[in-house]
């Protein structure tokens, strides 16, 4: 601190300012003559009302976010009341059994049989497949980008993952229909059937190439960017000291990443994965274009299926009856609630890692 070192002698060299004149101790008696500017400024109000109004307006804008959530919930609940009244909880786990063929009949708008089962099944299977494919890749990319990548490559690669996230669902769908599905049909599926057909998961009865596998693959590509970018975020939030501590013990780079980084970031990574799951559950267009859209439950992953989002996309605009519309809305409501819960949970996990100090996860 400069002032502490000032030697006395310097001060004494300063020529001091003369003391204020007699006015000291009293306020000036003469009224100060105001300049035109001063008079103008004095004439301006204190803007208390404008400030208050502005504040309230901004709060209202912020509240619009709550408003949207409430509005969606309200509209969906009102519209799905009919289906809820008709089927109750059965909607989510029971299927109508056709008395002639003794086959389960899940979704038959003509005869007003509605059950969410095949769509819940389809949503879960396609999302699970997507996670299975995407998670290892996403973590691999994140590890590469944060810990191994030469600095020059980091920018462009991060940009590419960002671009992947910006491509619209319908374009993924377009590409999947014309490139991915033929590829699966000609190459991957025959191979899967030959190799794993005995498990029953890959049966040889769908020549189109559409189905759960196609949906899972395209979903995996779509949720990769969000998982990897969030994983990257939590990994960079791990303090450097953690890495150095492990390195100082003579660990190899991989051991450092595994013990110093991944272990400390794991809660955040789980959050990132769950966030990816949230995306996958609600993803609509690309899935609708490649899953085959049949409201059935098949063991085979190569069979056609349908998800909650895809059936809504397919039928909502042309619902044949009020009950049909209501049943679809109930699916939407379920999707809304599930994605809210999943996203809220995931956000909390990610926040816990990136906000707080290094979390206690040793």
């Amino acid at each position: 601190m400069v002032n502490a070192k000032v030697p006395e002698i310097h001060i004494s060299q300063v020529q001091f300012q003369p003391e204020p004149q007699a006015a000291d101790g009293q306020l000036p008696a003469v009224a100060v003559e105001a300049s035109p500017i001063r008079r103008f400024l004095l004439s301006r109000g204190n803007s208390a009302i404008a400030d208050r109004g502005f504040h309230v307006l901004m709060v209202l804008c912020a509240f619009s976010i709550f408003g949207i959530v409430v509005l969606i919930a309200y509209e969906l609940m009102t519209l799905s009341k009919l289906a809820w009244g008709t089927f109750g909880l059965d909607f989510f786990y029971k299927a109508f059994v056709d008395t002639y063929s003794n086959q389960p009949l899940y979704w038959d708008p003509v005869n007003s049989h509605f059950s969410a089962l095949p769509f819940i099944y389809g949503t879960l299977v396609s999302s699970f497949l997507a996670l299975l494919l995407a998670v290892p890749l996403a973590i691999g990319v994140a590890v590469f980008l944060t810990e191994m990548c030469p600095r020059v490559l980091r920018g462009p690669l991060a940009f590419i993952t960002e671009l992947l996230a910006a491509i619209p669902s319908v374009i993924y769908g377009l590409w999947a229909v014309f490139v991915l599905v033929p590829l699966l049909r000609e190459h991957l599926n025959p191979w899967l059937i030959k190799l794993l057909g005995w498990t029953g998961f890959f049966s040889d009865d769908n020549p189109t190439g559409l189905g759960f596998v196609a949906a899972g693959v395209i979903l995996a590509i779509m949720i990769l960017p969000i998982i990897s970018s969030l994983t990257r975020e939590v990994m960079t939030a791990v303090p450097h000291s953690q890495r150095e501590a492990v390195l100082a013990l003579g660990a190899t780079r991989w051991e450092m990443i595994r013990m110093g980084v991944l272990r400390n970031a794991r809660i955040g990574i789980v959050g990132a994965i769950i966030l990816g799951l949230g995306r996958a559950l609600g993803e609509t267009m690309a899935v609708t274009m490649v899953i085959g859209n049949s409201p059935e439950i098949h063991r085979s992953l190569l069979a056609n299926g349908s998800t909650m989002a895809s059936v809504i996309a397919n039928e909502y605009a042309e619902a044949s009856s009020n009950l049909h519309l209501s049943a679809l809305t109930e699916l939407g409501l379920a999707l809304f609630i599930v994605t809210i819960v999943v996203n809220a949970f995931a956000r909390l996990l990610v926040w816990a890692v990136t906000r707080g100090a290094p979390s206690a996860t040793h």
């Binding site: 709060v59 804008c61 619009s64 910006a166 319908v170």
Partner: protein, 290 residues
């Protein structure tokens, strides 16, 4: 001696694991980059060969006639996005201003922030359903208006959060300078803080814009699509992504070609927006000031 050998072996294994892990990370990066490259190459290859002047000037031809374009869909997307911005931009920026300027550190602000993040993850199709019940049913028909509302609602959380982040980058000293001059708070926020952060806020809006520009699901049962010219807010309207979807799942080669061309146009617009955003944010929010 044996101990030493064991040690050596162990180190060999550790080194191998390290190499394998590196290899896997590189491999997964390649696997992630590959689809993007594949999609782009295919888009350019398929799209460019189908793109011509007609695409931008003609409306779709009936099945069986070749040619035609997506002029109505391009204009329709413009109308929808304009409407969406009218709703999403002011509300989103207002929310961002609240979070950054008024609500700092309060519980309410945290709740708004959290809800915005969660809302961002709600599937767009669900938004569309709510708008169907809210706008389409009372009106009795599909309309451009309902499509614009659905897209606008989707813009709010993104615009809100990016605006907040950009406003927080404005140094406090700048706010103090304005307040110390006796400038009313609302004026100081708008003319000083928001203006200082405006390059960043604009890019945030563009990001949200680019995101909803490609949205299809909520439009299926709000804007609905239209194979003729329409710019009326009260009638169904065509939109580029919607048209791509309809053409892609159709059985006609001609339409497939148009779908590719449409996809190329859409992706070029989006990539431009994202690159611009990246360029501006990498330069920093304040350096952009003239």
């Amino acid at each position: 001696m044996q101990l030493k050998n064991e040690h050596k072996l162990q180190n060999r294994i550790r080194a191998l694991t390290d190499g394998a892990a590196t290899g896997l990370a590189v491999l997964s990066t390649i696997l992630v980059v590959a689809p993007l490259v594949a999609i782009f190459i295919y888009l350019i290859y398929k799209g460019a060969s189908s793109l011509n002047l007609d695409f931008f000037t003609q409306i779709p031809k009936p099945v069986g006639e070749s040619g035609g374009g997506m002029a109505n869909a391009i204009v329709g997307s413009g109308v929808l996005l304009g409407l969406a911005s009218l709703i999403g931009v002011p509300l989103g920026i207002g929310g961002g201003i609240y979070l950054a300027e008024f609500g700092r550190g309060t519980k309410l602000a945290n709740a708004v922030r959290f809800t915005a993040d969660v809302l961002n993850g709600v599937p767009s199709i669900v938004m569309g359903m709510a708008v169907l019940a809210m706008v389409v049913h009372p009106e009795g028909h599909f309309s451009a208006l309902s499509g614009g509302v659905a897209l606008g609602i989707m813009m709010i959380p993104t615009v809100c959060r990016t605006s907040e982040e950009m406003l927080l980058m404005v140094p406090n000293a700048v706010r103090e300078a304005a307040l110390a001059l006796g400038v009313p708070n609302w004026r100081s926020v708008l003319a000083i803080t928001v203006r200082t952060a405006s390059p960043g806020i604009i890019t945030g809006c563009m990001l949200a814009f680019a995101r909803v520009a490609g949205e299809t699901a909520p439009l299926i049962f709000t804007a609905f699509g239209n194979s003729n010219w329409s710019t009326s807010l009260n009638e169904p309207i065509a939109a580029l992504p919607l048209q791509i979807y309809v053409y892609a799942i159709s059985p006609y080669d001609d339409w497939h070609r148009l779908a590719w061309a449409g996809a190329l146009v859409l992706i070029v617009l989006i990539v431009l927006a994202v690159s611009l955003v990246r360029y501006v944010t990498s330069r920093g929010v304040l350096k952009g000031a003239s």
